[in-house]
Symmetry: C2
Subunit: 139 residues, 2 copies
Amino acid sequence: MHHPDPSTLLREKSLRVTRPRIAVLNALADHPHADVDSVARAARLELGSVSTQAVYDVLRALAEAGLVRRIEPAGSPARFEVRVGDNHHHIVCRTCGDIADVACAVGEAPCLDASENHGFVIDEAEVTYWGTCPECATT
Amino acid sequence: MHHPDPSTLLREKSLRVTRPRIAVLNALADHPHADVDSVARAARLELGSVSTQAVYDVLRALAEAGLVRRIEPAGSPARFEVRVGDNHHHIVCRTCGDIADVACAVGEAPCLDASENHGFVIDEAEVTYWGTCPECATT
DNA sequence: ACACTCTCTTGAATCATTCCAGAAAAGGTG
DNA sequence: CACCTTTTCTGGAATGATTCAAGAGAGTGT
């Protein structure tokens, strides 16, 4: 399930290849939209042990390099995903916080134009759909 | 400054009319997109003193009643605005965190349709434009 | 293998927000 | 207007997510 080799990805961005970084990339490949805690748990399964701070550091480094994307839906701790570069959007369940991907029709950022920009230079339009997921809808 | 009378707004929602609530509504009318701390400071100018917890409680009560809207841009503490009910969107400066309103072309939520909904029932599409504000662009 | 630099570990601090129990105040009623 | 019920406000403490700091440890190019 880890198609693009984590080590290769890291080298392409001139980042050092370390076991925690590989474990975090693998964790995110298996668990899209995972929060820091879930990533840390998954990484620990692979490594035995990693400090929580290392996971935070790794995630920040990967996000800065553009290898992962940090998403922060209102009311939820930060979540991360490896799917980058396609400017897709998210749909969040108001009840359980579950997140699903929604492809962007345009594909490139910014995919929407603002009617008034107030002099701002806009580089991205982030869309978050809010609703109820199938499971929470039935209960 | 405070166009619709705060007391009237509160009564319309069957909320008790208290001095902290009026002060918070006035503060938000004067400072759109203010965070809790700014609201508390503004409210203290009007009242002399209010506990921070009262401000949190008031903001939650007002948000639940639909009198104010809570917005939470990634990386920023929660901010509040007197709700207009027009489903407008926001443009956030990546550098200074400043927020401006952007009218929604459609007006009613959800103003966008998701291409795939994964079985979710969508009730709102929240759009956040990211960019650089005029001041930060020049510096 | 060596040296240089970046990354990881441990431990503590910070910020925003929430929880709790009791005191005070708002609104309806007689 | 005084009373009573319910809701709200106060003060203090707790929680959760995230960040800071200093030193030990590991990756990379020569």
